[in-house]
Amino acid sequence: MAKFFSSSLNTRFLYYMVAIAGCVIAIFVYMIISTFTGSLKTEVQERVNATLETFSIVFSESHDQILTDVESLARGQDFVQTVNTLAAEKDISKLEELSEYVALKKQIKNTQEAQGLSFVDIVDSKGNILVGSENIKVGQKISLKGYVENVIKNKTTGKSVEIITQEEMQAHSEELAKKALINRIPTEKSKQGWRTQEDEHDGLVMAAGTVIINDGEVVGAIIGGVLLNNNNEILDRLVQRGRGIASLYLYDARAATTQQYQNINKRAIGTLASEEIVNTVYITQKDFSGRAFELDEWYLVAYQPIRNFENEVIGSIARGIPESEVTSSIGSIRLRFLIIGVGMFVLIYFITRFLVKSITRPLKELAINANRLSHGNLDIDIQPPEREDEIGDLTHSFINMKDKLHEYYTKLEALVAERTQELRQKVRDLEIARHSIEDEKNKSESILQNVGDGVLALNKDKEFIACNEAASDLLDYRIPEIIGKDLDAIINLKYIKLTDKNKDVNPIIKAIETGNVVATGTGEFAVVTKKKKGIPVTITATPLKDPSGEIHGGVVVIKDVTKEQEIDKMKSEFVSVASHQLRTPLSASKWFLEMLMDGDAGKLNKEQSEYIDHITKSNERMIALVNDLLNVSRIESGTIAIEPILTDIDGMIESVIFELAHIIKQKKQKTVFEKLSGGTPQIKIDPKLIRQVFQNLISNAVKYTPEGGKLGVRVSRDAKFLTFEVFDTGVGIPKSQQSKVFKKFFRADNVITLQTEGTGLGLYVAKSVVEASGGKIWFKSEEGRGTNFFFTLPIAGSTRREGEKTLI
């Protein structure tokens, strides 16, 4: 089957067409044959019925002849006279001796023989025989089952088919009785038990009779009859004309039959009618028309009942044509149609084959060419077809397509060659570029690897994408451990400095997020390495931007500042020891001066007193200088402790002012303290540190405000901060120098000339302390009109910080 469907279009198409044609023809033939058979059978049946009519007419004609014969006898004047004479004779035993009798007997005998009748009888008005054509005895009774009496009684003339009994036949002659004998034989198709086999001794006679009237008086009757049992005369005539079978039945048994079949004449006396026919003809007493099994064949038959004078069915006439005759003609028709069918089939096969070939052959050629084309053979030569149908169009289109393909292919090849050339050039260029990039990369890498500081690069997700040996050494991680890790996983920063207010901000993240370079100072951060070792570092974080300005990562340079820190430490130790050594002679001077002033070494005169005071002031200035230097050193070392406690700031301010009271008094200055209504709330700050701030600011105000000037402190607040303002009407700070105010050792030009004491460290210390305490410091100043310093402290308080040092 697979083979069948995979075969060529040609074959498949052929098979389809032939299969369809075969089916159509078969259906056609079947329908014609069945219709024809049906109509043929109907026609034959009609013919059968018509021959039965003929049979009936012939039968009736024969019967009429008998009647005519007897009537013509009965009408003869001599005949009537003779019968009248014989009927008048009282002694019937003497009739045979009468000459009239002999003459009449001879006359009817002649008539009987001439007309082929079985018998002719003359009876008297009582039905007793007067004279008969056979050797019948005078006075014997002849009845024909009452028919004779009926004719006499009713004075009628009439024909009838009647039964003649065996006795009545024997009365006529033994021969007649013998002739009538019928052996009943059931047919092959008869059911078992249907009419047991028995002999039939009755005779079926075609009878005619008429009364003999003399002077209006019935003197007798004349009866003529033909025995139908074993009488084939009429039947032979019928069959000769119409072939088939013709039968006469006595009751249900064939009394006479003639069969003309395949040129053989057959008799079949005594065979019985089929059950179906018996039921129709004898029981329901109707004509039968249809199929029946007769003798040894199936016949199309017609039956008609025969009735006696009492209208009883006593037999039937039947006519039939063998079915085989019909079917043989059907067979020949069937054969003819079969031949036609096969012929049509073959014709269709060849027509289809031709059609299919004419369609598929060019298609096949196209397919072969398409196949060649698909294998890249564009040089195939296809002949343009002569046909102008769809296949012609298709072939033309195919040729067009092939030519176009050929054209495109040629162009394409050229294009490919050109592009390949371009591509090669590009590859060469790229190769050169790659080499130069690689050189650059190698250079960069070698620079990167040789940098002493740790260098790391991050992408925008803050994952490391590169780092150098120095970074790996510094952080104790191997390079592969760093690459791909998050920033937080590798760089763990610890904030160590006092002063930076952005201490919670990671400088690397800040650089990547803001896009600005962020650099930390020495002592601000330590990095905690893999081995949990804290190494003080400086960090320079640079964001990486693409040409559009978008940040896609950052570069971090980490510098180990351990050595710098050590130097710082040594510096701070040096400061500590140096200040100690400086303080020792200063404190000796301080104490001896105090004792001199107190008069412990005797009372001083005014001049001595004044000198001692000058020395004391200079000494105190030296001490203050040393203290301030120490404080700066402490601040810069980054180890100042902040120990916040709840503090009464108003009290602190008052005490600072009080400490300066004698100078204020000396300078006749006016002081103001503008408190908050209800006083400044107590907040948690480091009182030692904040006191230092107030001291520095207020003492500056006193110092730089001329005699009779005004100074003071003002407190205000908002939701989060307390703001302290220290104001004066002093010399102010020149605009040009305002930016340097919080720098170390800064002293404004206008104050240096005042020859006031001062180290230039106070504001630096104040700023450091305020910022470490969580506040801000700033100022407004106008030269010659005064200065206002402001600083804030968080109401929430300062954050505690452990540390080794505090300020003095």
Binding site: S576, S579, H580, Q581, R583, T584, P585, L586, S587, A588, K590, W591, F592, E594, M595, D598, D600, I623, V626, N627, L630, R634, A641, G803, E804, K805, T806, I808
Partner: protein
């Protein structure tokens, strides 16, 4: 007369202190180093000790340590006088039992005398 021991290696400072204290009415003994200081505490039995930190032989911390270990001196007030003034140093001295800590350059003798007075029984 209340007894004050001055343990101070700097002669000028030692003199200034002892002179002032004597003038203020105290019986004063001086020691030039830590070891001598400890001996004088045992022999002189002072009621207040002024103790320097940076000294030869035994420094002030060592002296404080030994005194702290000896229950006899449990209630002896020791005032540390030093020109070091870092928080760590102050804390260390106070942990070792010092009652007060003054930076010499920043304290007046008069204030010191007043302070000593406070540690003496009335």
């Amino acid at each position: 007369m209340a007894k004050v021991l001055v343990v101070e290696d700097e002669a000028f400072l030692s003199q200034a202190l002892s002179d002032k204290l004597r003038k203020s009415g105290y019986e004063v003994e001086t020691a030039m180093d830590g070891e001598m200081g400890l001996e004088k505490i045992r022999s002189f039995k002072p009621e207040v000790v002024l103790l320097d930190l940076l000294m030869p032989k035994k420094n002030g911390y060592a002296v404080l340590d030994e005194i702290k270990k000896d229950k006899t001196w449990k209630n002896l007030p020791i005032i540390v006088l030093s020109n070091f003034g870092e928080k760590t140093e102050i804390k260390k001295a106070k942990d070792l039992g010092a009652k007060d800590y003054y930076v010499k350059a920043n304290v007046k003798l008069a204030d010191l005398v007043n302070k000593i007075k406070r540690y003496l029984p009335k």
